[in-house]
Symmetry: C2
Subunit: 342 residues, 2 copies
C-alpha cells in the first residue's frame, strides 16, 4: 500500500474570489488503516462553488464546520475502496464521500455520501456531475420548486456551470423555454448550440435588465438561481405572476468580503404572488435512485448531454477550483487524479 | 336623494409616513345615477396600510393605478345600495367595493368586491375586518403558505394590526405557539392578555434579535410578515429549518423615500431550506365563502376575537389612515360614517 499522500491544503483564507495562491500542495505520511476504517483511493475530485463558503473564518454552520488553515481542503471525491477493516465497505467498490483534496483517504465512513451503482450505466465522472450532487441539485431544485410547465420560461443563472447547464436542459425536457445567463459570448453560444437553450444572455454586457426582458418576453416563470446578489434583484423585476425561484446557492455571498444587501424589490414577490425557496440536495438522498434513473434515461436518449471541464493531477486541484469563479469552466469541473481506468 | 357628497382627497403625496395634512375634506355635487349605475350609501371606510403604496408618484402597477392628486383617495368602503339603475344591484343590499373615501359613491359596479351574506352572522364592520380583506389575508397567508403545525412557533409582524392579530389567533387555533411583534409595551400586553398570544416583542426596544430568539427558542417555523425591511433580515437569522415566510405586504417599502436594501442573509433560505412566498388575497375570491364560514365559526366559539379601532365621521378618515402608521391602532381600523344602524 502507498505510504505517502499528496494533499492540497488551505494556505490562507481567500479574500473575495479564490486564487491559486490560497492553496498549497503538500505530502504527508499516509496512516495505516485501523479497525473500523478503510482506505479510499481517490480517482476524481469534484470542484463545487458551494465549498467556498466554508473557507471563510467563522463560517461553520449546521451543514459543515469552517475549514481549518493548513489542513486539507474539504471537498467531494470519488474513489475505490483499496483496503478495508470496516464491515460495511468492501474492497473494489466505488463510492463518493465528503472528504478532502487528497490522493488517498483513510476514513471510518462518516463522510460517506453514496455508492456508485453496480454495474454502472455511465462513465465514472458522471457520478460527480450530471448524476452527482450538481445534476441532482438541478433535478430537485427545478422539478420540486420550479415545477416548469410547457410553454413557461425558465431562466437559469450560472447556466454554463455544473448545476445550471443541467437545470436548463431539464427545463427543455419538460417542455419549457430555457434561457441561460453566463459570463462570456462563447459560453452563450455553446448553451444555445450544444445544449439547446432557447436563448442566452451575457451578464457582463451592458443593459442586462433589458436583455433578460427581451429573452423572456412573457416574464420569468421559473428562476433557477445559484448566484444571488444584484442579479437576483434584476430578475425579480422580470418575474411573471405566480413565478417560482429555486435558490440553489449564492456564489456572490460566498465571495463577499462584507455582507451584501439583498434585493430591494422583494415586495414584488407579493405583487406577483411569487415563491422563493431554498433547498439542500443532500437531504433528498432517499430519492437519489429515482433521480439518477430519470437522468440516466435522458442521457441515454440523448435529450440530456454531459458537459465537463476536466484537469489532471492533484497539483491542479486549487487551480480548478479557482477556475469555477473565474468562469473558465463549462459544465462540471473535475480533476482526474489517476490515469488508470476511465 | 342627497345632492352633496363629502369626500377626502389626496392633497399632496406623503413623504414617508402619511400625516393628516396630506389629506383634505371637500364637498362635491353628487351626480345623478345614470343607466347601468347605482348609488352606494357608504357606512364604513376601511383603512388599510397597503393603499399607502399607490399614493406614491408612478406607483401604478398591475393591481391599481397610482392615485391622482386632488382626487378622492382610493379605499375600501362598505355601504348599502340606495338607488339602482343596474340590473345586478338591488336597493337595500350591502356590499363592499374598492371605491373612495366619500359618503356616497355612484358606480357601475366595476369596483365591486363582494356582497355581505344575508342574513348576516356578525356586525357590519366585521366584514371589513376579521371577515374582510384583512382577516381573509391572515387566513389564506397563514394557512396556505405558513401551514402551521401543532407545536411550531408562528412569529407575526405588525401583530397588533388588522391582519397580524388574526394571523396570531389563527396560529393558536391550529395548535401552534404565537409570538407577536408590536410597537409598544401596551400592545404587547394586550396581545398576550386579550388575544392569547404566547409572547410578544416590542420592536422599538433595544436587543430585538435577542428578544426574538428568546421568544422563539426552537426557531421561527412560520413568519407572517406585513412589514418587510430590516425586521425581515432579523427574522431570517432566526428561522428554523424548513421555515415558511408568508409575505403579506411591506409597510416599510410603501413609506420608503428611496429603495431599501433587502435582507443581506437570503442565503439562509438555502441553508435552512426555507420558503418565502407572496400572495394577494383578492385572487382567492372563490374561496371567500369557505374562509368566512371557518372564521365565523371561530368567532362564535369564542376562539377568535374581533378587535377594532373605530373613529367616527368622514372628517377623521385621513387621521385614521395616519394612525395606522403611527401605531395608534389596535386591531382593524375603520371609520363609521353614519350613526344609523350598527
Amino acid at each position: 500500500m502507498p505510504t505517502i499522500n499528496r494533499q492540497v491544503v488551505l494556505a490562507r483564507r481567500p479574500n473575495g474570489y479564490p486564487v491559486p495562491g490560497d492553496f498549497r500542495l503538500e505530502e504527508a505520511p499516509l496512516p495505516a488503516v485501523g479497525p473500523g476504517q478503510f482506505l479510499l483511493e481517490n480517482h476524481y475530485v469534484s470542484l463545487d462553488a458551494g465549498f467556498r463558503n466554508w473557507m471563510n473564518e467563522g463560517s461553520g454552520d449546521e451543514v459543515l464546520p469552517a475549514m481549518a488553515l493548513d489542513a486539507p481542503v474539504m471537498g467531494l471525491t470519488l474513489g475505490r475502496v483499496a483496503e478495508s477493516r470496516h464491515p460495511d465497505y468492501v474492497v473494489g467498490e466505488w463510492l463518493m464521500a465528503r472528504l478532502c483534496w487528497e490522493e488517498y483517504s483513510v476514513t471510518d465512513g462518516g463522510d460517506f455520501i453514496s455508492r456508485l451503482p453496480e454495474p454502472r450505466d455511465c462513465p465514472l465522472s458522471y457520478y460527480l456531475g450530471v448524476l452527482g450532487d450538481t445534476g441532482l441539485s438541478a433535478y430537485f431544485g427545478l422539478l420540486d420548486i420550479g415545477r416548469p410547465a410547457p410553454g413557461e420560461t425558465v431562466l437559469v443563472s450560472a447556466a454554463a456551470g455544473a448545476v445550471g447547464n443541467v437545470a436548463g436542459q431539464l427545463a427543455k425536457i419538460h417542455g419549457a423555454r430555457a434561457v441561460g445567463i453566463a459570463g462570456s459570448p462563447e459560453k452563450c453560444v455553446r448553451l444555445v448550440d450544444e445544449l439547446g437553450f432557447d436563448a442566452a444572455v451575457n451578464y457582463r454586457e451592458e443593459g442586462l435588465q433589458g436583455a433578460i426582458a427581451a429573452a423572456c418576453p412573457d416574464g420569468v416563470h421559473v428562476y433557477f438561481d445559484s448566484v444571488g446578489g444584484p442579479l437576483l434583484e434584476t430578475v425579480v423585476d422580470n418575474l411573471a405572476v405566480g413565478a417560482r425561484i429555486a435558490l440553489c446557492g449564492a456564489i456572490t455571498a460566498y465571495n463577499a468580503t462584507e455582507p451584501l444587501p439583498g434585493p430591494s424589490n422583494l415586495f414584488q414577490l407579493t405583487a406577483r404572488q411569487a415563491l422563493m425557496q431554498g433547498f439542500m440536495t443532500h437531504l433528498q438522498e432517499h430519492r437519489y435512485p429515482e433521480a439518477r434513473a430519470a437522468l440516466t434515461g435522458w442521457l441515454q436518449s440523448g435529450e440530456l448531454k454531459n458537459v465537463e471541464y476536466r484537469l489532471h493531477g492533484m497539483e491542479r486541484v486549487g487551480e480548478a477550483f479557482c477556475d469555477l469563479f473565474a468562469g473558465n469552466n463549462f459544465g462540471k469541473t473535475v480533476v482526474q487524479l489517476r490515469d488508470d481506468g476511465e
